[in-house]
Amino acid sequence: MAAQQTVPQVDPGPRGVTASRGPRRQRPSERPGIAYLFLSPWVLGALLLTIGPMLASLYLSFTDYDLFTSPGWVGWENYRNLFADDPRFLTAVWVTLKYVLISTPLKLAAALAVALLLNRPSRAQGFYRSAFYAPSLLGASVAVALVWRVMFDGGGVVDQSLTVLGVSTGGWVSNPSYALLVIVALAVWQFGAPMVIFLAGLKQIPQELYDASAVDGAGWWRQLRSVTLPMLSPVIFFNLVLETIHAFQAFTGAFVISGGRGGPVDSTLFYTLYLYQRGFTEFRMGYASAMAWVLVLVVAVITAVLFRTARLWVFYAGEEGR
């Protein structure tokens, strides 16, 4: 479909009547091959770096591949073992679900709140926008996660501040009840990317709507509920889908903060971290591939469900008649 859109459209044809042609019709003299030539860098990348490895991992997920010896076919065994014979897999699923359910709404709320604050004309706006965006630029970096670990560790800044307030935690990182929250906090702190998108969305809302509602006597809260949020709902939806998928794939924070172990007591055993342990420290790459495919399917299903529910609450301007 992408290819259809890139078919050259400027050619007026012999009679110069482009407008009368249906979008799907095509004349034999056109050379769509040219389009593919220009697309080839992307096609190459997609085939070699994405689709090829994905198909390879699909195959490996039905084998006992151990990285060194050639893979042997085992059928559905990996998938069966995942659900029937691996309590840690279920732990990993539960930890990841908790993380997605807590971190995504918090992150979006933080992003929206800051975007609303920044959406008023001010000379320093550019500065603040960059300042709030900065943590996301550092987001995937190991360095930030390391700093995070030091901050929340026993004797770290957070622990010491809490001790001053009379709360003794002994460090959040090594406390199974709080360790996950450390990683949630790290994710929420990196709200920059959705914030910038929210900000762009806010700027698209026509000023007339605010003016008109102000004339009708609507206050700030009323405007937020009846103008801003409905008008912003497509952007909220976009961010929700994106951040949910990101949260399912979270790895770096958990890996660095728990030292690659997912501890204490498996409290930060993220799905991807467990997958990594299985594949690269236990050499069970076939099993790890099966885990990867289960994750792909689950994320696909959840995204589909989100798209379904979107009909109920996402408002697209110009669709009122539907």
């Binding site: 290819a3 259809q4 078919v7 095509q26 050379r31 769509p32 091959g33 389009a35 593919y36 030539l37 080839s40 096609v43 190459l44 085939l47 070699l48 151990d66 990285l67 060194f68 010896t69 014979d85 026993g154 002994g170 460090g171 990182v173 090594s174 406390n175 199974p176 030292g259 690659g260 172990r261 501890g263 204490p264 007591v265 498996d266 690269f280 420290t281 236990e282 050499f283 069970r284 790459m285």
Partner: protein
Amino acid sequence: MRRGSARALVLVAVSALLAASAACGSDDGGGSGGGTVTIRFDWWGNPDRAEVTEKAIDLFEQKNPNIKVETSFAEFNAYFQKLATQIAGGGAPDVLQMDYRYVREYADRGVLSELDSGPAKVDTSGVTQQLLSGGTVNGKLYGIPPTQNTQVFSYDFAQWDKSGAAAPKAGWTWTDLTAAAQKVSDSTSGAVRGVADFGGIEDWFEVWLRQQGKQLYTADGKLGYTVAEVTQWWQLADGLRRSGASTPAELTTKMDGSQANDPVTQKKASSGFGYDSGFTAKSWEIMGREFKLSPFPSNTGKIGQYAKPAMMFSISKQSGHKAEAAKLINFLINDLDAGKTLGMSRGLPANAQVRAQVGGTLSGPPAVGSQFEQQIATQLEPAPPPPPKGAGTAKSTFQRVYDDVIFERSTIAQAAEKFLSEAQKAIST
């Protein structure tokens, strides 16, 4: 779009695949043609060790001007993750550092060269047979230990003295340890615990098992213990934790072998178990005080410790320069100058001649370690055969499940049961 564009797409795809396979094809053969051969040597360790290793390599290159050695090193866990990926991708280093716990795993999967015959043969006449058995899998030698080490108990003797704790002496028992540790904790009101919690480390559990005549793994690669032993061991450690004699859960859970997370180095505990090769020239400086070494406590009169290959050198089966790789290992293990340069950086040298020469030149912590090893040499047993496939996983599982005990998430018996079932799965698949 149908016909022509589909054909174009196929064309692009095919040319892409061709390009990719062409890129793979040009990988072999490089370097062996001319006079100089380049081999790669990867190992794990710290910057301390890197410095002396580089010096020894320089010496090797001087003596063998037609061989160039490229090295790279990383911390233990990262090293093994990288190694696995490299081997899978066909880019294994020629000479690699191998661990006792992994040697069977790699040898069984056919990625290591035999070192007692064929092109990669290395002269091992100077190395004691006891140590070589640690690198022997199914009768063939796959790893040669350059050094040996053994388990050790180290304690801050000044602190123990001040607290009135009785110093370890020959024949001391686990009860003695418990009493002494309690005294240290009490005298500092818990600020410095008597001993770092040892319950989660499978290595120390193994020594305790051997004290009772049992083993971690049987000769045919099965678990040499049952739920009963694990329960008993964890009860012993749990008693110390509950009474405050050992470190609290939030410190114990962080122990990962690094100094940064070691309660003893951090002055949160005054003693702990370890390996004597861990004492390097800067140890006292890093730990901020001096330590004395003692054999493990034992209730049976047997100390249960053994002369362990501290690590091994292996040659990858993929290597195109096995003879040169063997030459490098030979040099690192047997050459007196290399031995002088490397010192105790990897533990006590396995070659008797090198060891004798190094022994005289030591000072500081390495001297303490070397003296300790000589003092208990007669009590050390030979190393058991390399543990089965999956032993690495079993070891990390041991520590992970012990978290359930220290955070009191389940009873000790339940945790032991859980560990056993996971460990059995790990070594049987």
